[in-house]
């Protein structure tokens, strides 16, 4: 780099750029958070949804599945599983694990109560209604 461009100039670009773009990021975050209620339908977050998310987390579902495309890529996307399979299928599926089919990927048995199964379904139902800009491309996730 040329001699006219000094270290002090580079340093100033660094500090100036970092501060400017972090402030811009904060402004965009403020705008995003303000507009979110229209997109996440938080009025539908019932106690059951809240409990369902807790079950989702404490069984480490994200360790195999994705939800809205984030997580592990070992098992199907679950952000839209409520629309793909419906609540009853989801409950029956969770209850019947593991399949024990030789050589196939296995999901653990979590021994969830009926209430807990209802909660996880409520959480997945609420999740499926988030406005995700039409992602995923199709119902298979």
């Amino acid at each position: 780099m040329s001699e006219t461009f000094t270290k002090a100039m580079a340093r100033n670009i660094f500090y100036g750029g970092a501060v400017f773009f972090f402030l811009l990021f904060l402004a965009l975050t403020f705008d995003t958070v303000r507009g979110l209620p229209k997109r996440d339908h938080r009025e539908n977050i019932t106690d059951s949804v809240v409990r369902g998310k807790h079950i989702w987390e404490t069984r480490n579902c994200i360790g195999c599945h994705t939800i809205l495309g984030e997580g592990a890529y070992f098992a199907p996307e679950l952000g839209n599983v409520y629309k793909r399979r419906g609540g009853e299928f989801i409950k029956a599926w969770i209850k019947s694990q593991p399949t024990g089919a030789p050589g196939r990927r296995q999901m653990p048995q979590f021994n969830l109560t009926d209430q807990e199964l209802d909660d996880i379904v409520e959480f997945l139902k609420w999740t499926s209604e988030i406005d995700t800009n039409k992602w995923p491309p199709n119902i298979e996730g």
Partner: protein, 458 residues
């Protein structure tokens, strides 16, 4: 080694390498579960193996960063470390916390672990990469604060160079953005939005400052190029990192319930994110070409050059590959993401740590460089690990393209599992490449024990 207290870096580097081995072994288990689904089930389900794989990665990189700081800061500040004792205490605390956490993951069901560690009081667990129980998270914060206190005090009482300031800034940022891991609202969209404040602002933000500082330090040492030149490069690179990377967070905000305008912000800014990585490559080669001395540590030079190239390929090129919103619409959450993740982490953060260890470890053992035969072994390990990660990435990319084609495009899309069955071949190839990586790692460790003629450090 110019200052006695730099010696505290040694246990950090050794622990980092030991945990690195653990990370790779669990990676191989997962890779095998991809092809033989019920392997080790129910003893080690995939989700547990993955937690161990990713958490060990994070922890060993943190050990590496801390070791690097303890080695680098006294030399830059030209003074002994504020408190070597504190550094050793936090070493054992961090190692114990890390080991207990992994044992917890493996020994009891995750729900039991959550129950037993206060997750009902403050729920932070069960989110990707932030699976650690509450006591571990608090432990990380405490260790980080003590560590930051220690190195900040050292800088304050000594010479303040740009390299140590940038390193400090990166490390403080690391601690600050980790605090978002304690924020877990019941609204999944908000949860995800701020989860990225830890994850993205770490790896595509403040960690790059740490990376830049470590690389700049090693380049000064091995090339003897004027500090003014190297530090100018460092500032330009990290300026571009933050100018592109902060708003670049937007590439995670395309499909998680956040507004559509993020598709523009995210696409445009993250399309620029390869620039700082490209500059890093040019920087590393430029400095080595303009070297004013022939440092006997050829292996460290190789690692430094490799870091530039592989970080650019993994983080830059493979990141760009799927970062534009119309492309990401199809690639989001597919094996493409996994491909990028592997080469980016290896190229940027694994390699910069191995660069630092390669340079510093011989010094810590009282020699300016390892024997030529040990260096040859180390360079073999460089090529084996680097080439195999390239192949792992290529195989996962192929798997990802097929997965997207079968599952997300066309009139009659396949279900997830049906598509997985079709791409099995690439998972087998990935696993084979994984074993080559392990071989490289074994040679790497062997190189530390390889005897031979060495020059004592001045």
């Amino acid at each position: 080694m110019q200052f006695k207290s730099q010696a505290v870096a040694k246990p950090y580097f050794i622990a980092a390498i030991a945990l690195f081995v653990g990370q790779i072994l669990f990676g191989l288990i997962m890779g095998f579960q991809y092809v033989v689904g019920d392997f080790l089930f129910p003893e080690i389900p995939f989700n547990v193996a993955r937690m161990v794989h990713t958490n060990l990665l994070i922890v060993w990189l943190l050990f590496g960063f801390m070791g690097a700081a303890y080695y680098l800061i006294p030399e830059e500040a030209e003074t002994e470390l504020f408190s070597p004792r504190l550094a050793l205490i936090t070493f054992w605390v961090f190692l114990a916390a890390g080991a207990l956490t992994v044992v917890g993951y493996l020994a009891v069901p995750y729900a039991t672990l959550a129950e037993a560690t206060g997750n009902n009081m403050l729920a932070t667990m069960g989110r990707e990469f932030l699976e650690q129980p509450l006591p571990t998270k608090i432990g990380i914060v405490v260790v980080a604060l003590v560590f930051l206190f220690n190195i900040s005090m050292t800088v304050l009482k000594g010479r303040k160079t740009s390299i140590s300031l940038v390193l400090l800034l990166g490390l403080w940022g690391l601690a600050v953005f980790f605090l978002f891991s304690f924020y877990n609202p019941s609204n999944l969209v908000l949860d995800k939005y701020f989860w990225w404040w830890t994850v993205h602002l770490w790896v595509e933000g403040v960690w790059e400052l740490i990376l830049g500082a470590m690389l700049a330090f090693v380049l000064i040492k091995i090339t003897g190029v004027d500090r003014e030149v190297i530090e100018k490069w460092l500032y330009v690179i990290i300026a571009m990192t933050l100018i592109t990377g902060i708003i670049g967070t937007g590439h995670h905000y395309f499909w998680i319930g956040t507004p559509e305008y993020w598709q523009w912000f995210g696409s445009v800014f993250s399309a620029l994110e390869p620039i700082p990585f490209f500059m890093m490559t040019v920087f590393a080669f430029n400095m080595v070409n303009r070297r004013r001395r022939e440092h006997p540590n050829k292996a460290a030079t190789l690692w430094a050059l490799g870091t530039g190239v592989m970080a650019f390929l993994g983080a830059g090129v493979w990141g760009f590959l799927h970062t534009l919103a119309p492309v990401n619409f199809y690639t989001h959450g597919s094996q493409i993401t996994a491909a990028h993740g592997h080469m980016a982490f290896y190229g940027a953060y694994v390699m910069v740590n191995l660069t630092m260890i390669s340079y510093a470890m011989p010094m810590l053992r009282g020699r300016s460089a390892n024997s030529p035969s040990a260096q040859v072994l180390e360079m073999w390990s460089f090529w084996l690990m680097t080439v195999s990660i390239v192949f792992i990435t290529l195989f996962l990319t192929a798997a990802g393209i097929l997965q997207i084609w079968l599952q997300r495009m066309g009139e009659t899309p396949m279900s997830f599992m049906a598509a997985q069955d079709q791409i099995m071949l690439f998972y087998w190839l990935r696993e084979a490449a994984g074993f080559v990586f392990l071989l490289g790692l074994v040679l790497y460790i062997w190189s530390f024990f390889k005897k031979g003629e060495v020059q004592t450090a001045a």
